[in-house]
Amino acid sequence: MKILVPVKQAEILDEDFGIRDDGRGVDPDSVEYELNEWDDYSWETALQLAEKHEGAIEAIPMTVGPENAEEGLRECLARGGERGIRVWGDAAEGSDPIARARPIAAAAKREDAKLVFAGTRSTGHGQTGIATAAIPGWPHVAVVSGFGYTRGNDTTVVRREPEGGVEEETEIRLPAVLTIQLGINEPRYASLRGIRQAQAKPVEPIAPQDLGIGPDRIGEAGSAARIRRLCIPDRGMAELIGGTPAEQAKRLLGIVNELRRA
């Protein structure tokens, strides 16, 4: 059985950043990339399952992104797994989370994966995971905080936490897409040896058209929304309260009581 894990490089913005001339994005020089935090957890979930069922379950990281997105895949492969998939082409430029779901669904079909573990969201927008499920029409559960699978079963049991502090256990049929919540496990760090080995592991580049995705179904044309304008929100500053902890707490209590009466 194969588990496909879509990951992405999250864009982390410098404190001082510029807006692009067309007003629809930020200056690329103000952006740094790191693996999306949620994806650490979804990849770890897949790795743990693959290790538990060594030889029977394979975990494969994939990404939809240009060449520099491969860094995120290598980071995953440094922790485990044998190969990765990267889908990109000029037509994919400008893809929103919905457009990105199409190559992920196509790769899952090509690999005959039975599970897709996606992050619940990315630091920017997200929700690609649940969009992915809709394309082949797979069952899906979002915000999974616990997971149990018995080998050979055509179902799996997941735990999620709806608002209100109660956990719900749900059984879901396979193949399925699960979006994984932060904190489901403790993602491992890559060893130096793992980092070295990851450089030699194959990452297959695939063009969207080779997965049967035409230019109208990816990029801006295949997206569900378009960025019209980007702006910087106004920032205020709190009224700071000084003094000893006792003085601060006293003033805070006063404020809370005042606001409560308001």
Partner: protein
């Protein structure tokens, strides 16, 4: 002008408060275009929710019986899809939260709809629907539009729109959703371990939220962080952020709280840019103090 549809959401009999806020958002849009505002109650016994959904600005409450007692993605998706096909609304508003995370994106894909999530601003600009959401860990706001989309599905961030205060007497209709095969099966509800953390004694009645750093340091399970799973503190009047820096996504869970009081040992923490009051200091030291003082 095509209608605006709000899909309600409830858990164990309690209506999600963001639904009323979405009604406020929808009514605001409708004022600009003359659209009708429809609210769909998806529940086992939807009539139970009709009085609470009969808010000022609502033209019609549509009762949609669904076979699931709680949220079930296949059932909700099929019902919403059928309702959208029947009514052809221009805008569909859902509460941004754990349930909509589970079906809004797939609904958008299946219907070929426009889609944006966690929206906190909404308007028409020269006939184009413009939705505002955050980007880059709240450092920027992004205005989205939806060229060529006849229907746009949006999930609405809690605390960003004003719910109508008055009630009204909208028309009440019923819609029979097609039967949908449910491919997940509810097994059980469980009460997880009691939440940790030290609450500020005086704030016990307010809903004290928990933020990233205490969770990152292992004092709390990580999934309890605000702003992660749609868990927000927007319904609070006052939020005391103990040790939350606001540096990454915590702000998403609380930005629209009217009064944030931030306690953080880092005077440069971004939380202070959205907080109304702040103290620079150790959260444990300050949290213990009120217990020793009469409040």
């Amino acid at each position: 002008m095509a209608d605006i549809l709000i899909v309600s959401e409830q858990r164990r009999g309690a209506l999600n408060p963001i639904v009323a806020e979405a009604v406020g958002a929808g009514a605001g849009l409708a004022k600009a275009t003359g659209a009708r505002v429809l609210v769909a109650a998806l529940a086992e016994d939807p009539a139970e929710f009709t009085p609470r959904l009969s808010l000022a600005g609502v033209d019609e409450v549509i009762e949609v019986p669904v076979p699931a007692a709680g949220f079930q993605s296949d059932t909700f998706e099929a019902a919403a899809l059928a309702l959208i096909a029947a009514r052809r609304p221009a805008v569909v508003l859902l509460a941004h939260g754990i349930d909509s995370l589970g079906y809004a994106p797939s609904l958008a894909v299946r219907g070929g709809f426009g889609f944006a999530s966690d929206v906190f601003g909404l308007r028409y600009e020269g006939g184009d629907l413009v939705a505002v959401r955050q980007a880059y860990q709240e450092k920027a706001h992004v205005e989205m539009d939806f060229p060529g989309k006849k229907t746009v599905v949006l999930t609405i961030r809690g605390g960003s729109f004003k719910p109508p205060e008055e009630s009204a007497s909208p028309a009440v209709t019923r819609f029979a959703a097609p039967a949908a095969e449910s491919r997940t099966r509810h097994l059980a509800f469980r009460d997880p371990e009691a939440g940790g953390g030290e609450d500020l004694a005086a704030a016990d009645e307010d809903n004290v939220a928990r933020f990233g750093e205490p969770a990152d340091s292992g004092w709390l399970p990580k999934y309890r962080q605000a702003g992660q799973s749609g868990k927000t503190v927007s319904a609070c009047k006052v939020c005391i952020a103990m040790g939350g820096s606001g540096s990454v996504r915590h702000l998403a869970g609380m930005k629209h709280v009217p009064s944030i009081i931030a306690v953080n040992k880092d005077p440069e923490a971004p939380i202070f840019t959205v907080a109304r009051f702040g103290t620079v200091g150790d959260l444990f030291g300050i949290a213990r103090e009120p217990k020793a003082q009469p409040g």
